[in-house]
Subunit: 154 residues, 2 copies
C-alpha cells in the first residue's frame, strides 16, 4: 500500500541522524525548538509488533537525541508521544510508527535571531494547529546543524 | 523528596497488573475506555536514564496490555505518551516516569450499561480537562476485571 512515511524515509532529506532501524527528522513546526520525528525505517504500524532489537535501539536513539538537544538549546524536559491518529482517517488505515519528540522550555531561547518561547511550559503541549510556527528552510538547516554537531557516537 | 507517584506505586491499589519494573493502573478518566497509566516502580524522571532491562520489559508490558484491551473492548489503535509536564510546575521539579495509554475507538462501545464514544477518533485525543469522564469505583473495578481476565502470561 502507498505510505507517505515510507516515501519520506526513503528520500531521507536532511535527517538529523539515523541508526540501523530509526531515522530522525526535524519537524517543520518549531514552536518547541528542536521538535523532531523519530521514525521506524520499515513499514510497521503497531509498537507491540516491534522486535526487541528495534525497541532496544530506540532507547539509544532517545538518549542520543535528548543529550544533543539538551546541549544545543538547554530544554528542561522532553515530551514523547506515539499517536498515529491521522492514519485512521483513511480506510483502510495504514499506520507507520513515528514518535513525536518535543523539547519543553522553562525559559526563552534565542537562536539565529529568533526567539522561541514555550508558552505552555508545565502543561500539555499545544497541537501544531493551535500554535503553528513554521520556520524557513535556512533556519531549519541551522537547527539541524546545531543538534548534529552535539551528537555523540553511541 | 516527596513523590506522589512513588506513594501511589507503593500503595498499589488495584493495579491491572505489574511486572518486575512497571505497574499498570486504570485511570480515573475513562473517556477512552481502558485508559491506563504504565508507571516505573523506581523513582526516575527521564526515559534516557532507564536501563536496558527496564526498557525491554516495557515492550513486554505494552504487548500484554494492548492485547488484553483489544480483546476486551476492540479499540482500533492505541496512543502512547510520556509527558511529565505537571512535575515542572514545582520548583525543583521531581518527575517520575509514567506512560499514558489511550485506546482509541472507531465505534461506540457498550460496557456495564454505559456507552463510550471516542468523539475525536482519527484525531488528537482530548485532554482530560476538555472531556472529563470519571467513572465510579464499581465501574472502574469492572473495567479492570475485564482487562485482567484477558491478560496472557508473557
Amino acid at each position: 500500500m502507498n505510505c507517505d512515511i515510507c516515501r519520506y524515509v526513503k528520500e531521507a532529506d536532511n535527517p538529523v541522524f539515523e541508526s540501523k532501524y530509526w531515522i530522525v527528522f526535524l519537524a517543520d513546526e518549531q514552536a518547541y525548538l528542536g521538535r523532531c520525528f523519530v521514525t521506524l525505517k520499515r513499514h510497521c504500524g503497531d509498537i507491540a509488533k516491534l522486535d526487541n532489537k528495534e525497541w532496544l535501539e530506540l532507547l539509544g536513539v532517545i538518549r542520543k537525541l535528548e543529550n544533543a538537544v539538551k546541549e544545543a538549546f538547554g530544554p528542561s524536559l522532553f515530551n514523547w508521544t506515539c499517536l498515529m491518529n491521522l492514519a485512521y482517517q483513511n480506510n483502510p488505515p495504514n499506520p507507520h510508527i513515528h514518535w513525536h519528540f518535543m523539547p519543553r522550555y522553562s525559559h526563552e531561547v534565542n537562536f539565529t535571531g529568533m526567539t522561541f518561547v514555550d508558552l505552555e511550559f508545565g502543561s500539555h503541549y499545544a497541537r501544531e494547529k493551535e500554535r503553528p510556527r513554521k520556520v524557513s528552510g535556512r533556519i531549519k538547516n541551522e537547527i539541524v546543524g546545531a543538534i548534529r554537531k552535539r551528537l555523540k557516537t553511541a
